[in-house]
Symmetry: C2
Subunit: 255 residues, 2 copies
């Protein structure tokens, strides 16, 4: 019988080492095994004696099962994830695998190490658009029916939440983002601020601040995070640089 292993599901943030917490760095440095999507592993320093298990994109549950298997065999595993593992990333896949997998996996020492999620990095670049009540919705209909996405978008508009949209588009789903914007344009003012944030924290970072009427959803790709304002979200124009976008902490009482 081997000694007990462990699994840490570690958030690297959305790109840029300055967003990797000391807690995350510590678990990465001390793991016997690193598991993750190849480009994430490439970002990490090599540590002597540490094994790397890289995998392709997608196949999250397979990757989770692989990591659990290693931990079940007594290894100390860091499964790395972009952003915050708990927000549209690897953590849910691991707990799905535990829920549906070998009973002994429930006894593995498993913990999540939080990280900066894409919506936080995008918001920080331009001001404080998530400064008041908001929701986060994945536009991917790989694992849920599209009518549920539409229902959530419509209710989010009724609630006047700021809306953060994850996974807005992929090669396999180029049209859904257009459907989503058509729906939101029917429910929210044309002047609503919209932020497209691509690859925040990476070399090809690009941020554009537009209105709901003026937005071109076709610019969204796999690495884009979109923020759609509430009725309170404001743009502060400035002389030179990018304007600020923020949502005030309060809402005035209607008369």
């Amino acid at each position: 019988m081997s000694t007990p292993g462990s699994l840490r599901i570690v958030g690297l943030g959305p790109g840029g080492d300055a967003w990797i917490t000391p807690e995350a760095s510590c678990f990465i440095a001390h793991a016997t095994d690193l598991v993750g999507y190849a480009p994430y592993l490439k970002r990490l320093p090599l540590t002597k004696g540490q094994k790397r298990h890289q995998s392709g994109n997608g196949a999250e549950v397979e990757r989770a099962r692989h990591a659990l298997g290693l931990a079940g065999d007594g290894r100390h595993v860091a499964l790395v994830s972009g952003g915050d593992p708990g927000i549209f990333a690897m953590a849910a896949a691991v707990f799905e695998a535990i829920d549906e997998g070998e009973p002994r996996w429930r006894d593995i020492d498993v913990a999540v190490i939080p990280g900066i999620s894409a919506m936080q990095a995008a918001a920080a670049r331009i001001g404080a658009p998530l400064g008041h009540d908001f929701c986060a919705i994945s536009l991917s209909d790989n694992l849920k029916p599209w009518p549920l996405v539409e229902k959530r978008l419509a209710l989010a508009a009724s609630a006047d939440f700021v809306i953060a949209l994850y996974n807005p588009a992929s090669v396999a789903r180029p049209r859904r983002i257009h459907d989503a914007f058509a729906l939101l344009r029917g429910l929210k003012p044309a002047s609503t601020p919209v932020v497209f944030a691509r690859a925040v924290g990476r070399e090809d970072e690009h941020i554009s601040i537009v209105t709901l009427a003026g937005a071109d959803p076709s610019i969204a790709g796999m690495s884009t995070l979109i923020i759609v304002g509430s009725s309170e979200t404001r743009i502060i124009p400035r002389a030179g640089p990018t304007p600020f976008v923020y949502t005030p902490r309060g809402v005035k009482v209607p008369r």
Copy 2:
């Protein structure tokens, strides 16, 4: 005329130095002036020659104006905030102050340094409850009408979002959390998992996992973050330790 100053609104995370990003530490170390709520400043290392401007709780806009005034006078200011400054914290107050304040404040070099927010730390402690579409709502009606909070809670329940509740209760608002739970109990299954996470990352951290029917809202205080599950959120029982709580990445297509 003084040389241009700067303002960084720096997130410290919810408690525990291991969650302070290298970016945040860098700006704290190099600031000429630190501004913040006294207990946050006490957590930070003393740096020679650095001025500290501590303030009481509340009065966020005053604190923001003070920080902007210093930066306008050429100082390099780190305004520290708990959690992520962009999520129910100091950043929105700063941009409100800029929007309504002296025109020259718009030209100050201002940026937000993101941090781990309380919902992320709470989620990480128990699994992945925020693993799918979710919303974050502040229960404080200091700055917005209570009927708007009720409307958002009801729509969030209809949308079947996981719901993170910030500012659930204070000495001045002891009853609102009971009103919120009464409303949610009328709209969501009694078996819905609910997590009360107090002071995550601090010495007095305490987490309890209950159901909506069994929840006692009176345990919530100023430093409690509450997560109310969606209809998909599950609890994985375990032999010894705390159970895991997670929300799967997908929703099955209704038949």
